[in-house]
């Protein structure tokens, strides 16, 4: 499994089957106990040989931000809404794949020549944005892309610059890729890697997983907004691509277990794994589910710094993706 295949797979929240099928096949080659739970999460368990070692759970989400079809206009355009948080300003003049057939579509906008000064200022919101698949009328549009069909940005995986990658859904296919690496490790304790659904619409998949898994330790592999370039004041910069995996002490949904947090930083330091502390208390992720489910778990989040995170072009540095896996595996070996 490679990152290109994973990021080009179609998987907005609630429609993760393509991603799940890919991961299931890959995971089955690595461990015997692979199952799908009632929330659609892919649960991969590996029994350890050493009962003295603690049981550790890792989680990453399969779903990505995307769109869902909500209507059809007389002239054959598709009305749509975002699934997860997608600022409408990053949607204009972009390419999408729609529905089961993955039909090609584009999101157009009225030409600049026709805009009034007010049009130029006003954000084109989802009431005024449409997907065009080339259908001639509402009937054809509805036949090809019925209500409830999902769509995603159509973005190829492209490496660029000095070790960077631009792709769709790096948030959180980087975590998915690294869970597979963790399953390849030779940790002697019990290990569970869970690929969860519906993170982008409110941490929904992980809630179910956390409830039935009840782990002692849960480490979440994520992609997190970097906000390191351009006009962002320094105090709002979160982390820097290229400076390693970002370890969170706290975000808006959970607080890291202090001992676990220190332990992860120490392991990173001892093994010379590039790392940084996530400098701002932003975002929220599946750690919240694990921290609060049942009797609670000790959690910590390891993130790949990611630019333009909820747009069609996520940007991350390949070395940070590797550092995320390296730290997770080095941590296991330190136990």
């Amino acid at each position: 499994m490679d990152l290109k295949t994973l990021t080009e797979a179609f998987g907005p929240s609630g429609c993760e089957q393509e991603v799940r099928a890919l991961l299931k096949e890959a995971a089955q080659a690595l461990c015997d106990d692979v199952s799908i739970d009632r929330a659609g999460n892919l649960v991969c368990r590996r029994k350890g040989s050493d009962p003295m070692k603690p049981s550790v759970t890792f989680a990453a989400h399969m779903d990505e931000i995307g769109f869902i079809i909500t209507g059809h206009t007389e002239d054959g355009l598709l009305r749509f809404r975002p699934v997860g948080g997608v600022d409408p300003r990053v949607v204009v003049s972009k390419w999408v794949l729609v529905g089961k057939e993955r039909l090609r579509g584009v999101i157009g906008a009225m030409a600049i020549h026709l805009q009034t000064p007010a049009d130029r200022e006003r954000v084109l919101d989802y009431d005024n944005l449409f997907i065009d698949i080339g259908a001639r009328d509402a009937k054809e549009a509805e036949r090809l892309c019925p209500l409830g069909a999902y769509a995603v940005f159509d973005t190829p995986y492209t490496e660029f610059g000095e070790g960077f990658v631009a792709a769709r859904a790096l948030d959180d296919r980087v975590g998915c890729l690294n869970l597979l690496d963790i399953l390849k490790s030779d940790y002697a304790g019990d290990l569970c890697c869970v690929f969860v659904t519906q993170e982008e619409v409110g941490l929904r998949g992980s809630r179910g997983a956390a409830f039935h898994l009840q782990p002692d330790i849960a480490i979440i592999l994520e992609g997190t907004a970097a906000n390191d370039l351009g006009d962002t004041p320094e105090r709002f910069q979160v982390c820097v691509p290229g400076q390693g995996v970002a370890v969170s002490f706290m975000d808006r949904a959970s607080i890291a277990n202090q001992q676990l947090y220190q332990q992860l930083l120490q392991v990173a330091q001892e093994h010379g794994i590039p790392h940084q502390v996530k400098r701002a208390v932003t975002g929220g992720n599946d750690a919240a589910s694990f921290q609060q489910a049942g009797k609670g778990a000790r959690t910590c989040v390891l993130s790949v710094p990611c630019r333009y995170i909820h747009s069609g072009n996520n940007v991350a540095k390949l070395s940070d993706i590797k550092a995320q896996a390296d730290l997770a595996i080095a941590f296991l070996h330190s136990l």
């Binding site: 206009t73 002239d75 355009l77 600022d87 300003r89 990053v90 204009v92 003049s93 972009k94 390419w95 090609r104 579509g105 584009v106 999101i107 157009g108 906008a109 009225m110 030409a111 600049i112 020549h113 026709l114 805009q115 049009d119 130029r120 200022e121 006003r122 954000v123 084109l124 005024n128 449409f130 065009d132 698949i133 080339g134 259908a135 001639r136 054809e140 090809l144 492209t158 660029f160 610059g161 000095e162 070790g163 960077f164 631009a166 907004a225 906000n227 390191d228 370039l229 351009g230 006009d231 962002t232 709002f236 932003t282 630019r307 333009y308 747009s311 069609g312 072009n313 940007v315 540095k317």
Partner: protein, 345 residues
């Protein structure tokens, strides 16, 4: 080469206004097999001549494209942007671009994250000044590669939609260059009296400059300018847009009425449907520049409806490429010496 393939290939080639060299070479090579002579002039207009003994007819569609250029390199290595031609800043956030530094570099256009904006900022579009290009390179490497003034081209994707519709950037106006290509292919099997000049013009987006010089140089008897017009789009005023599926013959003071009548007549004979656009002023196309060349050139304007003009997803009906090519070829066949006497009747 199929005309659709011509469109796919030509729209990928760099050619911002003032930098039409590479795209001009492509057009010259593609037109050459179908013409008696082809040359590229000093402004990068491509002129393809198909000889005849009759009146001189000039067909013109522009080959330059709108785009961006580097106006500043920030300390963190991100690039600030200026524009060449009218680029809608709304299309830029999250877009991929090619930066033509020493090498061709892929960049992503970024902006301040929405959650860091004030409520007021969030209610407005990002302006070009708010955006930057991220090359994924350390600042030092950026400075080695990129200079202020380097050109920045928007991402090219040729997307075939349903019903023969196609979304591809720079259809304005290379789709009309493709129409000329189609006309040239069709003319291989037709006899014409007129001396034909198919001109792919430079620098239209900054003021029909290539049309002015090429029309001066060629001194045509009649001219047909080809450009795109707006197809129906949600939110657009209906009187300024047209149906996507058939060509448009404009009328108004900048369009020669008798010559337009001739074009409409040929369309009727050939069963090619035409819509009418009324343009009460400058057309802002090559028709303006050609019409005022030398002592004046009787000029008509044929337009191809396009959705989302000046975006990366300019959308057209590919049937119009063939129909437009056929109309141009048949018009070229119809031109004769007698037309001169009818011009002011």
């Amino acid at each position: 080469m199929r005309t659709e393939d011509f469109l796919r290939d030509i729209t990928a080639i760099r050619g911002l206004s003032g930098d039409e060299g590479p795209v001009a070479d492509f057009v010259a090579d593609a037109f050459r097999p179908y013409c008696d002579e082809v040359w590229v002039d000093q402004m990068h207009n491509v002129i393809a001549r198909k000889k005849g003994g009759g009146p001189k007819v000039m067909f013109a569609a522009h080959l330059d494209e709108i785009g961006l250029m580097v106006v500043n390199i920030e300390e963190d290595g991100s690039l600030r942007l200026g524009q060449v031609g009218g680029v809608d800043p709304r299309i830029l956030p999250g877009q991929r671009v090619w930066v033509y530094g020493k090498d061709r570099l892929l960049g992503i256009i970024g902006a301040k994250a929405p959650h860091l904006l004030s409520a007021e900022e969030r209610s407005k579009n990002y302006q070009r000044e708010d955006l930057y290009v991220d090359l994924g390179l350390p600042p030092q490497r950026v400075r080695e590669q990129v200079q202020i003034g380097d050109q920045v081209q928007l991402e090219h994707r040729y997307t075939a939609l349903q019903n023969g519709r196609v979304a591809v950037k720079t259809s304005d106006d290379r789709a009309c260059v493709a129409m000329m290509f189609e006309a040239l292919k069709q003319l291989q099997n037709l006899r014409h009296e007129a001396d034909l000049y198919f001109v792919a013009t430079a620098q239209e987006e900054v003021g029909t400059r290539g049309a002015i010089t090429s029309a001066f140089a060629l001194d045509p008897d009649f001219a047909v300018a080809l450009d795109v017009c707006h197809a129906d789009t949600p939110g657009a005023p209906a009187w300024r847009t047209h149906k996507l599926d058939s060509l448009v013959a404009s009328m108004g003071p900048f369009i020669h009425p008798v010559l337009r009548g001739k074009l409409v007549e040929v369309a009727k004979e050939q069963n090619i449907s035409l819509q009418t656009a009324v343009v009460p002023r400058s057309t802002f196309t090559d028709a303006d520049g050609i019409g005022e060349a030398r002592a004046g050139v009787p000029t008509v304007l044929l337009e191809l409806p396009l959705k989302n003009m000046h975006t990366t997803v300019e959308t057209l009906d590919s049937k119009n490429l063939r129909e437009g090519g056929r109309l141009l070829a048949q018009f070229a066949v119809a031109v004769n010496e007698g037309w001169e006497d009818e011009l002011w009747t």
